[in-house]
């Protein structure tokens, strides 16, 4: 499943890791994501800037609260931070669907949950762009991303507990999710393994 990529995330000459911590870039890139998906799907959206800014501030605080000091944790934190962003977008719901095309196929995630689809696409694109820029990695999207049954479970679960969005985003990008304590960075499988290794080495 290919996700439409906003222009701001296709840029390579600007450090996205830094740019994403500024509201004007966040607003601009998010609007471009919405525009790209609207063009591809025919769904019409409205962005609520006040809710988007609220989500941004909450994300920034959550990001700063758990930012690791070890440089070895930076890659995994990129994954975690994009999950935090998805969690916050789902909580503050800055998107509103104005209309969907008549006769659209509800077994397609883009029509089954149009807002959720944009949030997921945006966060995966941010994750992919930072991984490519900072770690020279290509983000591999998992087949779960196009499986409507996963989306049923995704929507139902995050409606009850938005922090599960972090685990689902890992699932969508082929990572090993932490389903029990998804909002704790140092409880992620990769971090627990690293802690274990340090314990053995030490």
């Amino acid at each position: 499943m290919a996700l439409p990529i906003p222009d701001a995330l296709a840029e390579t000459d600007r450090p996205i890791r830094r740019a994403m911590r500024r509201l004007r870039w966040f607003k601009q890139s998010f609007a471009q994501q919405v525009e790209a998906i609207a063009a591809a799907s025919g769904t019409e959206y409205k962005i609520h800037d006040d809710r988007l800014a609220k989500a941004f501030i909450a994300w920034l605080r959550a990001f700063d609260a758990q930012k690791p000091t070890q440089s070895t944790a930076r890659r995994d934190f990129t994954n975690f931070a994009s999950g935090l962003m998805l969690q916050q977008l789902l909580r503050d719901a800055p998107l509103e669907v104005v209309s969907v095309p008549v006769g659209s196929d509800a077994s397609n995630p883009a029509y089954y949950w149009p807002e959720g689809y944009v949030y997921v696409a945006y966060c995966l694109n941010v994750r992919g762009a930072v991984l490519a820029q900072d770690f020279d990695e290509v983000l591999n999207l998992a087949p779960d991303l196009s499986d409507i049954r996963t989306w049923w479970s995704f929507k139902e679960n995050v409606t009850e507990d938005p922090s599960l969005a972090i685990a689902f985003l890992d699932l969508f990008s082929g990572q090993n999710p932490n389903w029990s304590t998804p909002s704790l960075f140092y409880e992620r499988p990769e971090q627990l393994e690293a802690q274990q290794r340090r314990g053995i080495d030490g």
Partner: protein, 244 residues
């Protein structure tokens, strides 16, 4: 004539005149808004008489508004507020008559911020903004750093009531601010906008101001908690200005 008045520069002398003309137009506009409300039902002769009186008032209001609008065009459009629209606090500090320049630039920014945040009517005073700037600079805050000056300025602008007689309407964003919150959030947005780095961005000044409004609105609770404490306010500004 007192010395202070005799020495006023043409720009400084224009500020009270601009405020007065704006107040005149505002009063006429608000009066007409009241007249537009349906008349209370009453016995028909009284109701007819009331309508005639109100019609006369409406004609007078029209004439006053025309005169004030003409004077406004003559006096208000002669300043360089368009050019100042992209000035930062650092730019303003380094030019002569900084408080006048600040008041002109701030008037443009604040009226736009208020509109974006849902104000339908209100008065912004350039005289009070110039006074606020002068007081903030004289407080010595400017000697510490730009965030200390920004915090002192924010407090002075709020204290001096540079925005008054606000009426808020519903915005497209839905989350309506009260009149009291609206003025504070708009002033906070203005302060952020005066500080934010514009060099490496293709943002236009207007777009940047709207982003500052979004940021200020999202920080409404933090602002309420820190407004009376200069140090906390300074920390709040410093923490978020680079995140715009």
């Amino acid at each position: 004539m007192p010395t202070s008045q005799r020495n006023l520069s043409p720009s400084a002398a224009r500020l009270p005149l601009k405020d007065a003309l704006r107040m005149l137009r505002f009063t006429v506009k608000r009066g007409r808004t009241l007249l537009d409300k349906p008349l209370a039902p009453g016995p028909s002769p009284i109701s007819g008489m009331a309508r005639a009186v109100l019609n006369d008032f409406d004609q007078i209001a029209d004439r006053v508004n025309d005169v004030a609008a003409g004077l406004s065009r003559r006096f208000l459009d002669t300043d360089e507020s368009g050019r100042l629209y992209s000035a930062t606090l650092a730019d303003i500090e380094n030019i002569g008559e900084a408080e006048i320049v600040f008041a002109q630039a701030a008037y443009h920014g604040l009226t736009r911020a208020l509109r974006h945040l849902g104000t339908t009517e209100g008065l912004v005073s350039e005289v009070r903004m110039a006074e606020a700037y002068k007081a903030a600079v004289q407080s010595g805050a400017a000697e510490k750093d730009r965030f200390a000056l920004a915090a002192a300025l924010m407090q002075e602008l709020v204290k001096r009531g540079v925005v008054r007689d606000l009426l808020s309407g519903s915005t497209e964003e839905g989350d309506c601010l009260t009149e009291t919150d609206l003025a504070k959030v708009a002033i906070f947005a203005l302060i952020l906008w005066f500080l934010v780095d514009r060099q490496d961005d293709e943002d236009d000044a207007e777009g940047l101001l709207l982003t500052c409004c979004d940021m200020a609105r999202a920080l409404k609770s933090d602002l309420a908690e820190s407004l009376d404490d200069a140090e906390r306010l300074q920390d709040l500004i410093a923490a978020y200005v680079d995140k715009i």
